[in-house]
C-alpha cells in the first residue's frame, strides 16, 4: 500500500492552500456538532416540519373557537398548540439542543481536546490530527457545509472533518468557499450565513 499521497495539495493555479492550526475547544466542538446536525436535515424537511407545525397551530385555534368548551377540551387543545409551536420553532431549537449535548460530551471526553491542522487547497483537503492523517481530494468528500461558525467536510457514513472559522481571515473564508463551490457544486451547502 502506498503512503497516503498528497493529491490534495497539488496547486493548479499556484495559489497556496489555506492552512489553519487549532486546538479543538468546547465551543468549536459544539459548533461542529450543531453544524453536523443541521446539515443532516435537508431544507425541504425543515420546510415540511414548519408546515406541519403551522397546520397544528391553525387547528388549535379552529378547535378553540368552534368546538365545545370544558377543561378537558381546553387541555387537549393546548397540547395541540404546544406541539404546533414546538414544530414551528424546531429549526431554532435543534442547534441549541445539539450544542448543549456536545458541550456535555466534550466535558466527559478528554480525547476530544486535540491539536489539528487542516489545509484546504485547490486539489482538496489535508488533515492532521494525533491519530488521523489524510490527504483527501475533493472527490473523496461526500458533501461539505458551511454555517456562520465552521466549514464542515463529510466523508460519508458519519465521518467528519471541520475547520472553525475563528482560525481564518475573511479572505481565507472566501478562498475556501470558492474551492468548495467549484469542486463540489451542489454537494456544498451554506446556511445561517450571509456574506
Amino acid at each position: 500500500m502506498a503512503e497516503p499521497i498528497d493529491r490534495a495539495q497539488t496547486p493548479v493555479s499556484g495559489k497556496p492552500p489555506v492552512t489553519a492550526r487549532f486546538l479543538v475547544t468546547r465551543e468549536d466542538y459544539a459548533d461542529f456538532r450543531a453544524a453536523a446536525g443541521m446539515a443532516a436535515v435537508s431544507p425541504s424537511e425543515f420546510r415540511l416540519i414548519r408546515v406541519c407545525g403551522a397546520a397544528l397551530l391553525v387547528s388549535c385555534f379552529v378547535f378553540l373557537f368552534t368546538y365545545e368548551t370544558g377543561v378537558q377540551y381546553f387541555l387537549l387543545d393546548a397540547l395541540l398548540g404546544f406541539c404546533g409551536l414546538f414544530l414551528l420553532g424546531w429549526r431554532k431549537m435543534l442547534p441549541l439542543w445539539l450544542r448543549a449535548r456536545a458541550g456535555s460530551l466534550y466535558a466527559e471526553n478528554s480525547r476530544l481536546v486535540e491539536a489539528c491542522t487542516v489545509s484546504v487547497g485547490e486539489g482538496g483537503l489535508r488533515v492532521e490530527r494525533p491519530q488521523y492523517r489524510a490527504g483527501l481530494p475533493f472527490e473523496a468528500l461526500a458533501w461539505a457545509y458551511e454555517d456562520r461558525a465552521v466549514f464542515l467536510f463529510s466523508l460519508g457514513a458519519g465521518m467528519f472533518c471541520f475547520l472553525p472559522k475563528r482560525c481564518l481571515s475573511g479572505e481565507e473564508c472566501v478562498q475556501i468557499r470558492n474551492y468548495l463551490s467549484s469542486a463540489l457544486r451542489k454537494k456544498f451547502r451554506q446556511e445561517g450565513f450571509h456574506g
Binding site: 480525547r111 488521523y132 481530494p137 468528500l141 460519508g156 457514513a157
Partner: protein
C-alpha cells in the same frame, strides 16, 4: 509504520469491503448489541399490542356501541408487525448499502495492521490509528469481525478471508482476548461467557 506509537503489527489484512458486506456487518452489529434490533422481537411486540387492542373490543362494544376502533388499531399493529418482520430488514440493508456507497473513503482498498494496543488503517488517502479501547464492541460474523464505535470508523469490518488460513483462528482468539468478556460477541452463540 505510519504511527510510531502503534508498535509491531501482529496481523496484517489487505481488504476492500463491498457495500453488501458492510450492510451485512452493520445489521449484525445492530441485532447482536440490542435485542430490540431483532425484527422478530419487534414483530412480537406489535403482535402483543394487537392482542391488547382486541381484548379491549368487548369493552368498546359495551361502552360505545362499536368495536371498530380497537379492531382498526389491532389491524394496524398487525400490519406494522408484518412490515417490520418482512420489509424493514430489506429496506435497512439497502439503506446501509447506500450509506457505504456514499462514502468514497470506505470503498478504497485498505491495509489494516492489528497491533497489540491499536489498529492502524492505511488507504491511498488516509492513515488512521484507533486504540482497541475506543471501540465499544466486537461482533464476529461468518467471514468477518465487525468493530463498532471507533472515532474515525463507526463500523470497522475486518474480513478474515484476507488473512492466511492458518492465522484466522489465532485472529479470533486475539480479538476475544482484546475485547474481553463484556464486549466480545462470538459468532452465533450469543454473548461470550468465557
Amino acid at each position: 509504520m505510519a504511527f510510531s506509537q502503534a508498535g509491531e503489527p501482529l496481523f496484517t489484512l489487505r481488504q476492500t469491503v463491498t457495500p453488501a458486506e458492510y450492510a451485512e456487518a452493520a445489521l449484525l452489529v445492530e441485532r447482536r448489541l440490542s435485542w430490540t434490533g431483532l425484527p422478530a422481537v419487534r414483530a412480537v411486540i406489535c403482535g402483543l399490542c394487537a392482542a391488547l387492542c382486541l381484548s379491549a373490543a368487548p369493552l368498546s362494544l359495551r361502552e360505545y356501541g362499536t368495536m371498530w376502533l380497537p379492531l382498526l388499531f389491532a389491524v394496524c399493529f398487525l400490519l406494522l408487525g408484518l412490515w417490520l418482520l418482512l420489509r424493514q430488514p430489506v429496506r435497512r440493508f439497502r439503506e446501509l448499502e447506500r450509506r457505504f456507497a456514499g462514502s468514497p473513503v470506505l470503498c478504497e482498498e485498505t491495509k489494516i495492521d492489528c497491533c497489540r494496543d491499536c489498529v492502524v488503517l492505511q488507504t491511498s488517502c488516509e492513515e488512521i490509528l484507533i486504540y482497541w479501547t475506543e471501540f465499544s464492541a466486537c461482533v464476529e460474523g461468518g467471514s468477518f469481525a465487525a468493530l463498532s464505535g471507533g472515532a474515525w470508523r463507526q463500523l470497522l469490518v475486518l474480513k478474515r478471508d484476507s488473512l492466511p488460513e492458518e492465522q484466522r483462528e489465532a485472529f479470533s482468539v486475539f480479538l476475544r482476548d482484546t475485547f474481553g468478556l463484556s464486549s466480545y460477541y462470538p459468532e452465533k452463540r450469543g454473548r461470550s461467557r468465557g
